[in-house]
Amino acid sequence: MSNQYSHEKIIQLRKKRSAADRRFKTYGLIATLMGMAILFFLLFTIFSKGYSSFQKSVIELEVSYDQETLKITSDSTYEEQVKAKFFRVKKNAIAKALPDLSKKDIKLIKKMFSINVDKEIKEYFLNNPNILNTTQKIFVTAHSDVDQLLKGNARRNIEEKKRKLNDRQLEFFDEFVSSGRLKTKFNNFFFKNADSRHPELAGIAGSFVGSLFTLMTVFLLAFPIGIGASIYLEEFAPKNKFTELIEVNIANLAAVPSIVFGLLGLGILLNVFGFPRSTPLVGGTVLALMTLPTIIIACRASLKAVPPSIKEGALAMGASKMQAVFHHQVPLALPGTLTGTIIGLAQALGETAPLIMIGMIAFIPNIPTGFTEPSAALPVQIYLWVESSERGFQEKTAAAIMMILIFLFLMNALAVFLRSKFERKW
């Protein structure tokens, strides 16, 4: 009979089947490893592109602070010193940056310095006013093109026209490097400056503070409303159509694309209610509405986890339902609700599209000081720098991403810490 298997056939079939089993397992393993590999590749790309941004290139200049050029005297007041002609000092210093420079060379070499050099020369003087009439060796910030070349991000062995620095400037560059006058040091600008048109001066302080204000707004709005909503739905809501509508609504709102929330902010908050544009107040409100479902779902889970016996005990002692909930159930659920809120905030921190919609994409060169001031936010700053054609911004982008990832990591670590420290198993 044909459907009768011989012994060998059965062994063969079993071999085939176990080979298929092993293959299947290998596919799973490969898929998992691919996911991991992609994650590490992503992180590696960002770190390898971004770490150089924590360094900036500086060039040593011999600056002679003589009083004729500055037009001040040793007994000038501070105000007069502030207004002294530092740009002339800078001009002289740059003209003598290298020996034997022609007029054309000076023009070229000037482009190798940041526009911030006047300020640095001035600050150095204001910090040590007794250096009048002396010559000082100061390291001043180099232009982004020099910086990129020194860090190896820009190539030099390509056609002159395609390079930012021409052949003559490369000669200067080599002279600076060989005499040890061009070096890198810690880039403080990246941490204390706001955005700038010049890559070597641009920093994340402005967008970081903007993000902080935005997240504070999100927290102040979403935390109370989220807890309130989850208490209502868990404890007080009657079982009727409207409650069901609310529940379905929350579930669906969680999956609405974030850009739609941006349109809500633009159409309602800005155009109808007249909120101030580009401010953390509007951005925070939109993000709060967006993260609300996440927070409500987490809060409800942690309220549910508190055993009913605790509430019932309070009720038996004569507490009203409100007292039983607010004095006993909510405090016990608080760590869980906080964890959920932090996770919601982490989600809000990385969100970009809604903030673009409400105009937090404007170029803001100063650090915001309030909720109703136009400001940038970290992810939007990243977007602005990605879109920038200037090469120097690419490492800034990667470095800003590193910062945002570090903050996300810290927030999640805090959530995990809160959960493990305060969560009780009943």
Binding site: G226, G228, V256, P257, I259, L349, G350, A398
Partner: protein, 457 residues
Amino acid sequence: MFYWSLIIIVLGIYSAYIFGKSRIKSNAKQLDIKTVSLPTYYAQYMMVWCLLPALIVYFGWIIFENQIIQNLVLANFDFELNPTLNPGLLIAEIKNVASNISFAEGKAIEILNAAEHYSSLKFTSTVAFYLSVLIFMILGVMIASRKLQPTFRAQKSIENYIKYFLFFCSTVAVLTTVGIVFSLLFESLRFFSEVSIFEFLFGTKWYPYIPIREGQSGSQGSFGAIPIFAGTFLIMIVAMSVATPIGLFTAIYLSEYASPKIRSIVKPLLEILAGVPTIVYGFFAFVTVAPFVKTFGQSLGIDASPTSALAAGLVMGIMIIPFISSLSDDVINSVPQSLREGSLGVGANKAETIKKVILPAALPGIVGAFLLGVSRAIGETMIVVVAAGTAPNLTANPFENVTTVTVQIVIALIGDQEFDDPRTLSAFALGLVLFVITLILNIFALRIVKKYRERYE
């Protein structure tokens, strides 16, 4: 106005609290009876009655102040006589002059007068605001203080107020949805009054520029969204064909094969991948994947665009992997153990059990996860804004440059917004389409998942 009014309101409710507490105590002492509720509840009652009127005034002002002042200022201009005047631009100019942003010199005398009028109205409004906040707070406290009798059940009414507040909190989600629908519909209707809805849904040419002058040749605006929908679809297909196999196999491996130790390492790593902001994926696509796709295309002899659908789709697929894998993982784990054991018991090996028993049983849940992934891919913005193109292109070639719904929304709203220009309004029409499609996908997916859960519970 923002900070000062906040301070005034906080001080107001604090004094209402103190006042309420001392008043009820002295009232009770006079009558020599005990209060029904604890004195704090009476004080809280006063707080509520101080806060509510203040909030009403506050929000009333926020909503109506600008509108009323603008209308009063613009009332002096005759728009019928002067049809070239644009009220929006005019009010912006007046505001700028009033706040010294733009120089007053060289402006028309009407504008200067209007700016002065505007400033004086603004000042009057601010003074009136503070006065009315104070008056309303005092009025509220005065009315409520008549109830400060020891026999008044303050606790009960406070608890009712709290309940109303909690109810309000839970309706915020509903109000948000209503707000979304309202804003999208309202602006979309304005858009469709200028562009026919059939042209929008079935037209194949997207050229969102309306001629500035009448009869300007060669630049007739055209709003056919088919190329945009096609681009979105193409990128979604690429993304899902990356995310579905990898995500699903990861879920199978983690739930069926991996030891608890591997699970405890891989799951948090996948969570990290899920928590990476999408703009970071956009950067990754832009600096790493897109150049790679370009050289890959060249090695195949295909001229790939630097912003190809493939690059954006691949990275979007990576973004969706953890989403698919964690949802499918939950679904596979909730397949009853008895099914597994039954299959293994009749001699099937693990792969056969998974393929013939577990996956069919989990299929509805996996389809739900897939649909949620699709809805994510369609609504994803930052990856495509950075890594996909901006020009509409009706093509099925993933090496070419396509654009998506979300990219067009961002482009339409990123520059100067003028809400009487169909270009700006088109963003809301596209947003409406996006919202409706993702909503349908979500409702459908959630229903499937729910049905599936019920089956095994």
